[in-house]
């Protein structure tokens, strides 16, 4: 009994008797043998351990003996567990491998500038997109301060790298937006229809973009809508141009939300005071509404609906250049509806699914009248587009993935010119496959292709795309991109002649980017070759050619001056094309050789006021002078373009509402801007193509109850 008890006693006391301490020392390095400070080194299951010093060395004592496991862990590295046998002092050399993380992993970046609130390392934030003074809350206007874009403000759309506005496609949650701009009048381009606040992510690609998207020869603007709001809110706004109100309601279970917005804009009172160049005869007046609905269907699934409806009307008259002494009047009435329903869900075992459905319709009624001279011309255009898209994504390992998808669009284009009709329908089908392969976490390749068939042309095309990106260190990367891009000719040509060819562009891009928390530097060079552009003379055919090449710089600094954020972009563009009625390849009338922008935002905390300033420059553009011989076609250039927009916003609280008062002015110094010249048919007279309202003043206030969205509002001007 005693003996037994003694054994028990002995065994129980053993650990106390053996409290001999062993010293563990060593050094921790990364894979390149650089010392790693701050590593937590310890014996698993004990408290014994130490933090590695600046030179990676560590030293601690432990009472543990025998077979143990030494653990070394550090943020950004894979935790190392190394079995050891402790029987005396131990010296260890430990090596940690870098873990995959966002900062260290390369992303495909050639050609594209991303603004995302989900990711850290993007060139811009969604707010920055609309933070531009003079952008007047129009996403496209804000993008015109980025490299690769043109200051082509007399026509609709985004003109990118020697491409026309038609060559840029806009996508919301993967679905194409037909007629993203309000219908404008000659020299008065319409602004974008959708509110910039609805998007959490914007990717502006000026070339070399993914096989997921097609039908844009030059550029894709990919917008990703917000998920659920964090709380319910409502807002009201009033300005010298109109009123707006909105409601955003989060459901009680916080799994769903809906939002309604409505606005009414009328420029008639403003134009009766500040006389525009052309005399208004109707409006301009716009009624806009939008509706959204979002519902989480599971931890990973979400259904979103977004739709808007706009009604606008406006009319202007001006002195006729064709018939001196007479006036020309143009009226346009527009109705537009866009709807978009998407569903995203994770299917398990690395598969994700996306499905989208969209219907949109646009109706333009245009009356052209040379008063008391010629009968009124009525143009009535209607385009309807229904589309469906399905995409599957499969993860291949930690980073690599495969995308497969297809889309189908059914388009009906109707056009009535007085009694003459020119209608067509088109069935467009596309399939794509693309894979992102990470050779290492620093080196990625994207390879894919897109197959398209459209009935209006009766032709198929296959567009290969490829990108490579290599990360040099945590902040810098080098990228290359190549791709073929096809696009149907514009509806105005297809109405009259079908079975043309696809227009085609081939992109080659090389770029370097350095991106840290406060500074961004980016340089990109590109070469783009155009084939099968639409020619209208001698006959409508797709045998035009062209090229564009250039180099672009972007610099952003958010740190050097406190509360000041600025960016500078510069684009050099060398482009020529032979299209439409051009006799041979020349620099087209929408392209400027040099374009530059400076955007500055400064916050003054004491007076809680934000001042924003945007300066843009573009060198003169060629214009067509019919009096010149063919050998000097487009040889004359307009004056250089300059504009400076300024905005100030004062933030305060009225009652329970966060409120912001805003004053903004475009083209503050009233720089003369001439985009080109228009000649009469007899070539005897010409007029300048100028902005209708060269300087524009905006004064308004916005109130928000609930969630604070004033930051949105100020950043919007």
């Amino acid at each position: 009994m005693w003996k037994h008890s003694f054994n028990l006693l002995f065994c129980t006391c053993m650990p106390m008797l053996l409290l001999a301490q062993q010293k563990i020392t060593g050094k921790v390095t990364d894979a390149k043998k650089h010392p790693l400070p701050g590593v937590n080194v310890y014996i698993k299951g004990s408290y014994d351990g130490a933090t590695a010093a600046a030179d990676g060395s560590f030293s601690f004592t432990t009472t543990a003996t025998g077979a143990q496991v030494v653990v070394a862990s550090l943020m950004g590295y894979q935790t190392l567990e190394q079995p050891v046998n402790i029987s005396g002092p131990l010296q260890l050399t430990l090596m940690l491998k870098a873990a995959m993380n966002e900062l260290k992993v390369v992303t495909i970046s050639a050609g594209s500038i991303e603004a995302s609130s989900d990711k850290n390392n993007t060139v811009l934030k969604p707010l920055d997109i609309v933070t531009t003074a003079g952008a007047t809350a129009d996403i496209v206007n804000a993008l015109k301060t980025l490299p690769g874009t043109q200051q082509t403000n007399d026509r609709e759309g985004l003109f990118v790298r020697g491409g026309t506005g038609y060559e840029t496609q806009i996508f919301i949650d993967g679905l194409m937006v037909r007629n993203p701009f309000f219908t404008g009048l000659p020299d008065m381009p319409g602004r974008g229809r959708f509110s910039p606040f609805l998007f959490k992510g914007t990717t502006f690609s000026s070339g070399g973009y993914s096989a997921q998207y097609g039908q844009g020869l030059s550029s894709a603007l990919v917008l990703e809508s917000e998920d659920l709001p964090t709380q319910s809110s409502y807002s009201l706004g009033a300005s010298i141009l109109g009123v707006n109100g909105g409601l955003d309601v989060l459901s009680k279970d916080k799994k769903g939300s809906f939002g309604i917005e409505a606005d009414y804009t009328n420029l008639e009172p403003y134009f009766s005071v500040a006389k525009p160049k052309q005399e208004p005869t109707m409006g301009p007046e716009i009624i806009g509404t939008s509706l959204n609905f979002r519902r989480r269907t599971s931890g990973t699934g979400i259904i979103k609906f977004y739709g808007y409806g706009n009604w606008s009307r406006m009319g202007f008259k001006k002195n006729s250049i064709e018939y001196p002494g007479y006036q020309e009047q143009t009226d346009v009435r527009n109705q537009n509806v866009y709807t978009n329903l998407t569903y995203k869900e994770s299917l398990g075992s690395g598969w994700r699914m996306y499905a989208g459905l969209s219907y949109s319709s646009n109706i333009d009624k245009i009356n052209l009248d040379t008063i008391q001279k010629s009968p009124v011309t009525n143009v009535h255009n209607r385009s309807d587009l229904s589309q469906v898209r399905l995409q599957l994504t499969k993860s291949l390992g930690a980073l690599s993935l495969l995308r497969l998808g297809g889309e189908y669009q059914y388009a009906v284009e109707r056009s009535e010119f007085n009694a003459y009709q020119a209608n067509y329908t088109d069935n467009y089908t596309a399939g794509f496959a693309e894979t992102d392969i990470y050779f290492t976490s620093r080196f990625v390749g994207r390879f894919g292709g897109r197959l398209e068939y459209t009935t209006v042309l009766g032709k198929m095309n296959l567009a290969p795309r490829a990108s490579l990106a290599y990360k040099l260190d945590d902040y810098s990367q080098f990228s290359l991109a190549y791709g073929d891009y096809y696009q149907k000719p514009e509806p105005q040509y297809l109405r009259f002649k079908q079975h043309l060819d696809y227009t085609k562009a081939t992109h080659y891009i090389a770029s370097f980017q350095r991106l840290s928390a406060n500074y961004t530097f980016r340089v990109e060079a590109f070469y783009k070759q155009y084939k099968n552009l639409v020619k209208t003379a001698p006959d409508t055919a797709t045998n035009g050619t062209g090229y564009a090449k250039g180099i672009e710089l972007f610099w952003r600094d958010r740190k050097t001056v406190k509360n000041l954020d600025y960016w500078i972009s510069y684009s050099f563009l060398d482009t020529k094309r032979n299209y439409l009625f051009y006799p041979y390849e020349v620099q087209p009338d929408f392209a400027a050789k040099h374009t530059a922008s400076l955007v500055v935002k400064k916050y003054f905390p004491k007076i809680t006021t934000n001042i924003g300033l945007t300066y843009s420059y573009a060198s003169g553009r060629p214009y067509y002078n019919p009096n010149l011989p063919e050998s000097r076609f487009m040889s004359e250039k307009t004056m250089d373009f300059n504009t400076l927009g300024v905005s100030a916003s004062y933030l305060t609280t009225i009652g329970r509402a966060f409120t912001v008062f805003v004053v903004s002015v475009t083209n503050v110094f009233d720089f003369k801007q001439v985009y080109g010249y228009r000649y009469s048919t007899d070539k005897l007279r010409r007029e300048e193509i100028v902005p209708n309202a060269p300087r524009f003043l905006f004064v308004g206030m916005f109130m928000n109850f609930g969630i604070d969205r004033r930051q949105d509002v100020i950043n919007n001007l």
Binding site: N40, Y47, G49, T51, T608, T653, F658
Partner: protein
């Protein structure tokens, strides 16, 4: 004799079961004492301390306090660092640790206080963009902590701090901040931590802030 042996056995058995406890208590007390020292308040020392708490947490696994303190030291390091690029990584670590503390000690006011601090640290990376998302989150966690335990002085410290640093136009209020911080000091005076290693930080900081607010 048999009884004596049983007694002896009982004594040893208790010692064996409790064996970790004095070691745990000692280690924790030592580290918590470090946290109480002003000289520890720099990003690097905070990280070193968090490493020690992580070691204790890894060995104990059933105690919530080591995870809690690891998260606390990490979020303090995030709040103090000058290198904005590091904040998210630290906040991620703190988040992981506080989630573990939460699963061991659900519905705890101190845990909610750390969550509020983590949200605040994330705002610092990019106030313009993130303020709208993490500002309400930070406030919500303070509210949650207050609901669980209205006597917790750290709730009022965090509330006062938020009121003090938020610009007036975004709902900040220096006068109100002063009142709330005074209330915090009253709560600190009345506060009895459950043990010497239970959370009790913040009183000195509350006094500093109040002094600044008083100016």
């Amino acid at each position: 004799m048999k009884q004596f042996l049983l007694l002896l056995l009982a004594v040893f058995a208790t010692a064996a079961v409790k064996a970790q406890s004095p070691r745990y208590q000692d280690a924790m007390a030592k580290q918590v004492a470090l946290l109480d020292q002003e000289s520890s308040y720099n990003p690097q020392t905070m990280l070193d301390i968090s490493n020690t708490f992580e070691r204790i947490a890894a060995a104990e696994k059933t105690q919530w306090l080591p995870y809690y303190y690891a998260a606390y030291a990490q979020v303090m390091s995030a709040l103090m660092t000058q290198d904005k690029d590091k904040i998210d990584g630290l906040a991620d670590k703190a988040q992981a640790n506080i989630n573990k503390a939460d699963s061991l000690q659900p519905n705890n006011d101190e845990v909610a206080c750390i969550r509020s601090l983590i949200a605040s640290s994330r705002i610092m990376v990019d106030p313009q963009t993130r303020g709208q998302e993490y500002g309400p989150e930070s406030g919500m966690q303070i509210e949650k902590a207050k609901q669980i335990n209205p006597e917790n002085p750290r709730v009022y410290l965090l509330e006062g701090q938020a009121l003090y640093y938020t610009p007036e136009q975004f709902g900040g209020d220096k006068k109100k901040a002063k009142e709330v911080l005074e209330l915090a000091l009253q709560k600190y005076a009345a506060f009895k931590p459950a043990s010497s290693i239970a959370p009790h930080w913040g009183e000195a900081h509350a006094k500093d802030l109040l002094q600044q607010a008083g100016k």
